[in-house]
Symmetry: C2
Subunit: 430 residues, 2 copies
């Protein structure tokens, strides 16, 4: 493509950011638009939700990450519509009025959000983990549950406050449940006088046959053993009801009701509503999770100027199954599109799978890397190394490492702040 | 006082926390109640408001700080009334219903909040800086102002977005204005394409004759010179009106109107409403700032079992003027009351003034310590040293130091996230 053409990237997640970086200093006129002013390192979001890290430690201002590329501009705004014929996107109206941005090439990488399988009323009862606000809300609920249990005198209600249910046994659910186990057994060990946090009841429900089903059976079993050591019980079951005081779960023996005040959702995601906008405007096909089914070169059928990447894209040309919604896929897709636009490749996209990692807690993880499978401390050290390596900003890297070294040796989680609405669990503050 | 007596501390700020720590392992039955679950290192709150530090880096969970003292219990709740005859406090009703806590000795240290001099309608237009939520709200407004200026095409409105007004020339106002100068001149230098952040117009209004009036005239002048180097203009004037698009200020030459979208309030504080509760219940006198006028031993007249400390207390027995609302006064008062209750002192409280420090920006500060007065880099290094020393938790100390060393050399502020409501400056997020 000739220099000077306008490339518009929607979304500053892994796919959009890596596309923008790879198009830096290219001669194209690149604009990245995002609703937020920062890139979020989502794989560590569960650490914020469990008080191990602060939001600022896993987020980097997009302007800062991209400011060395004079041909890349960052714009704060929310894309609500795309006029594919006139080649322009429409931003949500705000103080400055509605605005349009023209493009020659459009890269859509707006990600995914939670999916409650047709039960949107569960969302306030069982928050999911996709944004910084989600993470601080989950942190607030977890910490307030222990505070409420400390004050509660009715043993039955106290038990409900100390019961935590995580729905979904993928990496996010396993990481959340593992971190909850550490909080109960280590972090809060000496903090209360009326309750023993180690008596917390942490349940992880998985609808399929085993947790971490993208790993081998042996590694799933190793992860389950690590969770048991942290006091987490893994059960097979499908959630059929959630209210303010309990969840109902369909298990093999029938339906059971579990009294709990804290339910965390890690069960399903759905592509950004922009996928539906693309389908309406171009007639492109979506899969049941709302993802755009893309061509081998990540474009939309009939629109060689529109690319869809990351969690929004359903790419099944390599293995017959869609690629998983993980950061390495998104990064490689972002870099691929940039190479393609710069004329450096004509071949279809191929995901180079470097491996699969999930952490369960302090010094426990499972890994499948370069054909090797292992678990325990070596897997955890690898997890630590890779995550620090990938943290975008140099100062974040060192900060997170510092915090982790301390968390590891002190078993403390310094960022366990209850902030936001109802912070005191009491009347609004004066 | 005999062992086993119940000491109730209201507030986990510097005064309450130091009282609780000094009463640790004492044989008394100590309860600390606070609306928040963390102690906030308020002197660094302006760093969160300006993206230099994350909330978790200047806050420590109260339970963690106090967990080694088995005789100290922490309770989350908001005190709304005090029954001085029955010796019990009433907590705001919440999920667990209204509750009462009995005491033998009551230590009230609930701090202060902003004061708009009878113009409460200014609060949403000109936020003050007292809580973590205040700080993230100010951070949101500052960063969104630059984003809006980048997108704005009308030069007059763009100018208003790039105009920042700080009201009040005490240490908080000076620190905020100095940090704003650094953001505009250093941090965001390369981040925008349509605006030059260094063209921001930062104004600091002080009603009195000079900024930092608790320092000598020479140091006030040194601080003003440092501010000018950061592009901040200091003016004498009293704010008479604030609306969404401008502030009106009465200056010597008359009334001027300044078009601005960002006004920050650092002009006045007022004691917690609990001071009024104490006045109603005990008849104790309050000063015009709503502070309780305390006896030489920090008790309330006629109530030797009630102590009032920190920003809530008006203590004028030492110099004739009330002690300033700064952390060292609060800490020393907390430790004094503990010594007194343990029978280790009978003399009146005396504040040992170790000096006075204010920072203006990177490598600039003013100090009056041990009779010495100095400014510039030496004062700033002293400021840095003392603040790191006082950060309650060991891991915070190292984290903040790491972050600062990086901020210093990179001139970056990694925690400049726009979070919370209206984060994208656009329609609510889907």
């Amino acid at each position: 493509m000739e220099p000077g053409r306008r490339i518009l990237i929607v979304g500053g997640g892994f796919a959009g950011l890596y596309a923008a970086k790879s198009l830096g200093s290219s001669g194209f006129d690149v604009t990245l638009v995002d609703r937020r002013n920062f890139h979020l390192f989502q794989p560590l979001l569960y650490q914020v939700a469990t008080g191990g890290l602060s939001p600022g430690e896993i987020a980097s201002p997009l302007r800062y990450v991209l400011n060395r590329f004079r041909n890349v501009r960052v714009l704060l705004g929310e894309v609500v519509d795309i006029d594919v014929n006139a080649r322009r996107v429409l931003l949500a109206p705000d103080d400055l009025g509605a605005r349009e941005i023209p493009y020659d090439v459009l890269i859509v990488a707006a990600g995914a959000r939670h999916h409650y399988f047709g039960r949107p009323e569960w969302e306030p009862l069982a928050p999911g983990l996709k944004t910084i606000e989600d993470a601080t809300e989950i942190r607030r609920r977890i910490l307030l549950a222990f505070e409420a249990a400390e004050r509660e005198t009715d043993p039955e209600i106290r038990r409900a406050w100390l019961t935590f249910v995580v729905v979904g046994g993928g990496p996010t659910g396993v990481e959340l449940a593992g971190a909850l186990g550490e909080i109960a057994n280590d972090t809060l060990r000496k903090d209360f006088r009326s309750i023993n946090p180690a008596e917390a009841n942490i349940l992880l429900f998985e609808g399929g046959s085993r947790i971490l089903n993208s790993f081998t059976e042996e590694l799933s079993a190793a992860a389950e053993r690590s969770l048991i050591r942290l006091g987490v019980r893994t059960r097979r079951g499908i959630v059929t009801g959630i209210d303010a005081e309990a969840v109902t779960v369909k298990v093999e023996s029938g339906e059971i009701r579990i009294a709990t005040r804290t339910v965390l959702w890690a069960a399903g995601v759905q592509a950004s509503p922009l996928a539906q906008v693309l389908a309406d405007r171009t007639g492109c096909a979506l899969d049941p999770a709302g993802r755009v089914i893309v061509e081998p070169d990540l474009t939309i059928a009939g629109h060689p100027e529109i690319y869809v990447l990351g969690d929004m894209a359903h790419f099944a040309h390599q293995t017959g199954k869609p690629l998983p919604g993980v950061a390495p896929v998104a990064m490689q897709q972002g870099a691929y599109v940039a190479r393609r636009l710069r004329g450096r490749t004509q071949t279809p996209f191929r995901y180079a799978d470097k491996g699969n990692l999930a952490t369960i807690g302090r010094a426990a993880a499972v890994a499948e890397v370069f054909g090797l499978r292992f678990s325990g401390l070596p897997a955890w050290l690898l997890w630590l190394f890779i995550h620090i390596l990938y943290l975008i900003e140099t100062d974040n890297r060192l900060l997170v490492l510092t915090q982790w070294v301390f968390n590891y040796f002190t078993r403390n989680r310094g960022a366990r702040l209850i902030t936001g609405e109802g912070a005191a669990g009491a009347a609004p503050r004066g």
